[in-house]
């Protein structure tokens, strides 16, 4: 069985990276760099957020939650789309690595989703006077969390990895079709009693520093997601390819360290 590696993926094309064997070391190499970028940008972003950006004249200091709230919310939506993308690629092209990527991304997406909800709830208390309202945006974020949890619960519940991959891919795609539907339906449902809408406007200079901080934090979140996904996909690859020779060699290398 050691000799069951797919020989047909040895070509020089880009598809080469779709081979777990090729991708494994690449991921190991790149992950620390992305982690480093994430760390540096977070420090810069937080510095801007706490020490450069001014106090908001309406909300006071609470608004500083924005520097994690918004990047987390963006990331949570983006990650789901990326997962769905990889799932589709996996189903259509039958590449094992894409399923693995999708599964490696899911927990991070769910965590960002939770962070967005949590920070939003804490932000809501001083600004709206309550932790939760059934506002359209909040609600669709909550449903997104359920989609993530459903995906993870399903893939965990199926023990055979290949089955789990494909089943997860189906639910990720069905969910992705539904995300926009959910978003608009929720908005429609709750336009009448839209909760307090908050404007964060002040002098333009301040808006720019704030925007800067937010964007830098958003990029940091991107880099963090990529790093963690790479780190997480590596053991998954080992697990799946454990019968091949190269994994044997890799395990010996890990063991001797």
């Amino acid at each position: 069985m050691r000799d069951l590696d797919n020989k047909d993926l040895r070509g020089r094309s880009l598809l080469r990276f779709a081979s777990p064997q090729v991708f494994y070391p690449v991921a190991g190499l790149l992950a620390p760099w992305f982690a480093g970028i994430a760390a540096v940008l977070t420090v810069i972003g937080l510095y801007i957020g706490f020490f450069v950006a001014p106090t908001d004249f309406q909300q006071g200091e609470v608004y500083r939650v924005i520097f994690i709230h918004v990047p987390a919310a963006w990331m949570s939506m983006l990650v789901y789309l990326v997962m769905a993308f990889w799932s589709a690629v996996g189903l259509v092209m039958n590449t094992r690595l894409s399923f693995m990527m999708a599964r490696a991304l899911a927990p991070t997406g769910a965590i960002f989703c939770f962070i967005a909800l949590w920070t939003g709830a804490l932000w809501g208390k001083p600004t709206w006077g309550t932790y939760w309202v059934w506002d359209a945006r909040l609600t669709s974020q909550l449903l997104l969390l359920f989609l993530y949890l459903g995906y993870m619960a399903l893939t965990e519940a199926i023990e055979d990895a290949r089955r789990a991959d494909r089943a997860g891919a189906i639910i990720a795609l069905v969910g992705a079709i539904n995300v926009p539907i959910i978003y608009f339906s929720v908005q429609w449902w709750n336009t009448l009693h839209q909760g307090a809408s908050v404007s964060i406007t002040k002098a333009p200079t301040m808006a720019t520093t704030m925007l800067m901080g937010m964007l830098i934090m958003a990029i940091a979140a991107w880099a963090y997601t990529i790093a963690v996904a790479f780190w997480r996909v590596r053991p998954i690859i080992l697990e799946r390819e454990r019968h091949t020779d190269w994994v044997g060699a890799e395990l010996e290398r890990l063991g001797s360290r």
Partner: protein, 208 residues
């Protein structure tokens, strides 16, 4: 007509077999042998296309079965461990459904004849729930007596729970099918009373 090349089957951490190849032409009967847990059922399911091998390929009339799935299935009859019996339906209804759903439109009279042939004449109107173990198996096997048009039979332990007379009858039927140009792949731990011993593929020899 049925050929498998270089099959490998991995279950969890256990590699059941690898580099398994076989070629079966019209008129052959193959008995897959081996102790419990050596992968007979797993092999049969791979041959039917119900599960995917870790490596290798199954061909029917020279074409990959994944590519010609529907055509292949139109020529295949698989009976597994589970009898595919609904407990609320009668044997007759169960058989008729199995045939129609498989795309064979068989007249009612033929279904009744097949069931009577296999010894369920008295149980035609009972719900399958109350049948005895052996009677349940027989309902599934009744398909062998109507689906004459399908050349490839894949049977997982067809003799289980049958009484002595039924075992002999079934063995004769399988041999007749091969004589008529069909192919039979089966597993069994019992010594079935075949007139001429079938080919044997012993998984114990292949085990990794």
């Amino acid at each position: 007509m049925l050929a498998a090349t270089d099959l490998a089957c991995l279950k969890g951490d256990r590699l059941l077999f690898r580099a398994l190849g076989l070629v079966l032409d019209a008129g052959r009967m193959l008995r897959v042998a081996g102790p419990n847990g050596y992968g007979k059922t797993s092999l049969l399911r791979i041959l039917c296309g119900l599960s995917q091998p870790e490596h290798g390929m199954v061909r029917w009339r020279g074409r990959d079965i994944r590519a010609v799935r529907d055509d292949f299935h139109a020529e295949l009859l698989y009976l597994g461990h589970a009898p595919a019996l609904n407990d609320l339906l009668t044997p007759l209804e169960n058989l008729r459904f199995a045939l129609h759903a498989g795309g064979d439109a068989v007249p009612e009279a033929d279904c009744v004849a097949a069931l009577e042939r296999i010894g369920l004449g008295d149980q035609l109107d009972l719900p399958a729930r109350v049948l005895s173990q052996g009677q349940r198996r027989r309902v599934g096997l009744a398909r062998l007596f109507v689906a004459g048009s399908r050349p490839l039979w894949v049977l997982d332990e067809p003799f289980t729970a049958l009484d002595v007379a039924a075992v002999a009858d079934l063995a004769a039927t399988l041999e007749a099918h091969c004589v008529a140009g069909g192919i039979v792949v089966l597993t069994t731990h019992q010594d079935a009373p075949f007139a001429s011993a079938p080919d044997v593929l012993d998984l114990a020899e292949l085990a990794c």
